[in-house]
């Protein structure tokens, strides 16, 4: 059994380091969600009334919505490249289970998209005059929330991998599942701003992440098996 575990680890780390390296070579793609996030938040005060009071009140929701859209930007490419060049078949036929490989890919996606968004959000929150006390919950909730959204989005990407223009279908599949994350996440920040305890919302997001970590990888693996047969 130890031997099996060693095999699993070697295969999963191979995919993990390969994807990290690929992401690094495609640095410009990596910056796309961050630039989108930056532009959208910069335009917001220009489009609506730039008074600190109004901006501060809509800041939690706006930051969360923009972060959500930014994670969706490159989601449909998650498995596309591997599907096109036959790597996906190799994942399916490798000795380790497909859900572990999938988990490694989603982890790389989150590390290169979700985490940078969560770390950048406080800077943009300054532009929107987010009241003090909202910064830490914003980063924490986005860190957990983007991880959940990456896992959910990966299911959509797996289901639409064989469609040539799956972007819109992916959004339609994934959006309803994103809603609870958005509601809880934005709530977390606004209740912190209002001076309430926000640990309940964080705990809910954490529970959501735990559930997604258990349920999603096998579901994504199953979806990939179905899609790749088309």
């Amino acid at each position: 059994m130890d031997d099996q575990r060693g095999d699993n680890w070697s295969g999963v780390s191979a995919v993990f380091s390969r994807d990290l390296r690929l992401m690094w070579r495609h640095r410009s793609d990596l910056a796309n969600p961050l630039i989108f996030f930056l532009i959208a938040i910069t335009l917001l005060p220009l489009g609506v009334d730039p008074s600190r009071q109004l901006l501060g009140s809509i800041a939690p929701g706006m930051l969360w919505i923009m972060a959500l859209l930014a994670t969706l930007l490159s989601m449909d490419l998650l498995f596309r490249g591997d599907y096109d060049d036959g790597s996906l078949a190799q994942f399916q036929l490798a000795p380790q289970p497909l859900y572990l490989t999938v988990l490694a890919k989603v982890a790389v996606y989150w590390l290169t998209t979700g985490l940078p968004l969560a770390l950048m959000a406080p800077l943009l929150a300054v532009m929107l005059a987010l009241p003090e006390g909202g910064y830490i919950p914003l980063t924490l909730s986005l860190t957990l929330g983007t991880a959940v959204m990456s896992l959910i989005g990966a299911l959509g990407a797996a289901l639409t991998v064989c469609l040539r223009s799956g972007g819109l279908v992916l959004t339609l599949i994934v959006m309803p599942l994103y809603l609870p994350v958005l509601i809880i996440g934005a709530n977390c920040v606004s209740s912190a701003v209002a001076g309430f305890d926000y640990s309940r919302e964080l705990a809910l997001l954490g529970a959501g992440l735990a559930l997604a970590l258990i349920v999603m990888p096998p579901a994504i693996a199953g979806a990939l098996r179905i899609s790749s047969n088309q």
């Binding site: 095999d7 295969g11 191979a14 995919v15 036959g86 790597s87 190799q90 399916q92 047969n229």
Partner: protein, 223 residues
């Protein structure tokens, strides 16, 4: 070739396999037994179902009827043992354009649990050692295929399933591959491949899918 553990000799059996694609029967009642040392070339006209048969052999798709047995066990029941014994190379080379030759060969070998320490030797065998640190972006189709074929030199899997391995490979490369396949089978391995080229390998068996075409009208009998 690596020394294999003294396990039971590999054996692959196709038991009454029927495959369909888009509700059309491609071939039916295919019966074949591959003992240790078998080199099997699957031939057939375009669209006869060669790739579909190889996908069924690897377990990527399930046959419509019948089953594939590895060591007398259906492959669905012993997925892990079967996948450890399998090396599959599809008609696309799983080679990433933005990774170097060595990086590409390495991730694939690690994914399959092949012996990584022979990486340089394997690249030398496919004449790609000089390109070791070049990104595959600038390589030709034949060179990319060679990068994928380097897996054959690192693999310890007894069962090779290769879909058009000779595509875009030059004459010398083909001769080298033929010698490699012969060695693999002489050591008790099994290789199943599709190719439109006539291969010069001693003891090679051919399976013509045209012999297993459904009878006219038979495909309607199921519907």
């Amino acid at each position: 070739m690596p020394a294999r553990q003294p396990t039971e000799p590999p054996r692959l059996t196709l038991d009454n396999v029927t495959c369909e694609r888009d509700d059309r029967v491609l071939f039916c009642n295919l019966q074949y037994n591959c003992q240790a040392g078998t080199l099997l070339q699957v031939v057939g006209f375009n669209g006869a179902g060669k790739t579909t048969l190889l996908h069924a052999l690897t377990g990527l798709i399930a046959p419509a009827e019948g089953q594939i047995l590895w060591q007398q066990t259906p492959i669905a029941n012993s997925a892990r043992a079967f996948r450890q014994a399998l090396l599959y190379l599809g008609h696309q080379a799983p080679v990433k354009a933005h990774l170097t030759v060595a990086e590409n060969a390495l991730w694939l070998a690690r994914l399959q649990g092949a012996s990584v320490e022979r990486l340089d030797w394997a690249l030398e065998q496919v004449d790609m050692l000089a390109y070791r640190d070049i990104t595959c972006h600038s390589l030709s189709a034949g060179q990319r295929r060679r990068v994928a074929l380097a897996q054959l030199y690192m693999s310890q899997a007894p069962l090779w399933v290769l879909d058009e391995p000779f595509t875009a490979i030059d004459k010398e490369g083909v001769a080298k591959l033929e010698a490699l396949l012969e060695r693999h089978c002489a050591h008790g391995g099994i290789a199943v491949l599709t190719s439109h080229q006539a291969l010069r390998v001693a003891g090679m068996q051919t399976l013509n899918l045209a012999d297993f075409q459904p009878q006219a009208g038979a495909s309607y009998a199921y519907g």
